[in-house]
Symmetry: C2
Subunit: 322 residues, 2 copies
């Protein structure tokens, strides 16, 4: 797609808000005196870890599913993500009463299979290679006529994620800055377009692990540099940037900073201890930018997106190896 | 105090609401499709684990401190709790700009000492016996003129905790039943009086661990039976009932049920996994009544008070011993 395509617009975002209302949570914005005083700033945590499904993915998937025409919807939806998007898509499809087909590698974690199955998603297994996955997805769509809903390279999905900053700025219009985890870019692009539509002067900064820094490198170079062999505990941030999100990110995002693994773990644990909410490593990466002192925030009002809270409670980073 | 004393009134509760407004959080009420479907009921979780200090104690302590006259307040406040009430009292005193003296046994956990110290509370150590504690508190009050604020046997404290159900019923007036953890009784008595003032037909049921069942036994016998040698992971529920709370509990509470330890741990873990919030064992005891199938709730709208979220993340009940 060329860069003069219309891309993500405020109209698409407003339509998404109407469409998903009542179908996903309007998540709370939490504050903490303790974390404010550590940062010398006022922090406003947008808690997408408390979203349906435990992650922001519920927004984009729900918008995409309900944006389909009756004729399109009839044959169902499909995706080949094995993460939160798959479960979110299954849930949205169930809400609309249509089938969801999820292509998953045979080695996908049992917890993720269970999560998709709980919402009635139909799992189609394939060998754990990219080629097998794409082949299986193509065959599936040919057979069923299902519509592919990509986890992030899709304007309907991006518009759904954008509703996060629309809500955040409605409640806290005085924010100076928003920090957002970045992986495929659906969340960061959506949040940025909505935030800058509402408040052109606001800054939006993406945060990613040092060991999965394709977005930072892509942002600096001006073209997508795919992620190869990501090394990070933040398992939700290992994808490469999508083209549609990158177009918006390159145009509108102010910066992308990276954080070390220790800062991600410290960030996650501090949020658990002080705020009493469960955030997964990927979801805590935004606050890790403050833990690692990656940008000056003194005296600022900072929105921080906690993107998800799905993780294995038997395998926490601070647990001793058995 | 005789049982025809006025006790806790709606006027005291309304005054408490005004007094603590803006000084503590109005905590969110969370819902979960997953937990509703497991219970065959509609559940409304009042999240006092997300309260300032991580526990409902912030309400009662704040109300008590700000209810003092200028003359009383000048000499400060004191308590000999070593738990959440101590930190809550230190915080409230700091807000009012007066000293808080906390008598603590020399073996009190470092985390609790740190929590009190963070809010500027003055810790007075004593030997770890009840006698030493009471002697130290009496000497302290004689020397400083500080006002004792008991953690639960105090109408101002009870009125503060009562604001929980005032908020809950304002948002969800159709509740049939509220489940509340019980220990000293400040929380249960406050919640019950407020709930029945607003909606006389509502039922309120206390929940406590089988291994610390003094409230259930006291409730059935009609007089306080002190707790001796409590055995439960719910460290916040090991106190004996206070007289002032018991007067209200005996008059207004519908029942007190007990739950086994396994149900408390299952309850806690399920809330973490599904709702993505940190609740301590004591805080999860209310939901444990449903886990243990202790009362029929099918088709009902049930308020569930999650009372706190303070615990040691290095020592979770499902972690393997090192």
């Amino acid at each position: 797609m060329s860069s003069d395509a219309p891309g993500l617009t405020w109209d698409l975002i407003q339509a998404a808000r109407e469409r998903i209302r009542g179908k996903v949570h309007r998540t709370p914005v939490m504050t903490s005196e303790t974390l404010d005083s550590l940062a010398n700033a006022q922090l406003f945590f947008k808690c997408e870890n408390l979203q349906k499904m435990g992650a922001f993915k519920a927004r984009g998937a729900t918008n995409a599913v309900f944006a389909l025409s009756e004729a399109e919807a009839r044959n169902g939806v499909a995706t080949h993500s094995s993460g939160n998007h798959a479960a979110a898509l299954a849930r949205a499809a169930k809400l609309r009463g249509i089938p969801a087909y999820i292509v998953m590698p045979t080695n996908a974690p049992k917890a993720k299979q269970a999560s998709v199955a709980r919402y009635g998603g139909k799992i189609v297994f394939c060998e754990p290679t990219l080629e097998a996955r794409e082949t299986a997805a193509a065959r599936l769509m040919a057979e069923t006529g299902a519509t592919l809903i990509h986890p992030y390279n899709d304007l309907r999905v991006m518009a759904g994620q954008a509703t996060i900053s629309a809500e955040l700025l409605e409640e806290h219009p005085y924010l100076d800055l928003i920090l957002v985890p970045v992986s495929g870019g659906g969340l960061l692009s959506g949040i940025t377009v909505a935030a800058k539509s509402l408040k052109p002067g606001i800054r939006v900064i993406g945060v990613e692990p040092e060991g999965a820094d394709d977005a930072a490198r892509s942002f600096r170079s001006g073209h997508i540099i795919p992620m190869v062999n990501p090394q990070t505990i933040a398992d939700g941030l290992r994808s490469s940037l999508g083209e549609l999100p990158f177009t918006e990110i390159r145009r509108h995002v102010d910066d992308i900073v990276t954080v070390p693994e220790e800062a991600i773990i410290t960030s996650m644990r501090r949020i658990w201890e002080v705020m009493k909410i469960i955030v997964e490593p990927s979801g805590a990466v935004s606050y890790a930018a403050l833990v690692a002192d990656r940008l000056p925030v003194k005296g600022l009002k900072v929105g921080i997106v906690l993107s998800g809270g799905n993780l294995d409670l038997d395998n926490l980073p601070w647990m001793k190896a058995p």
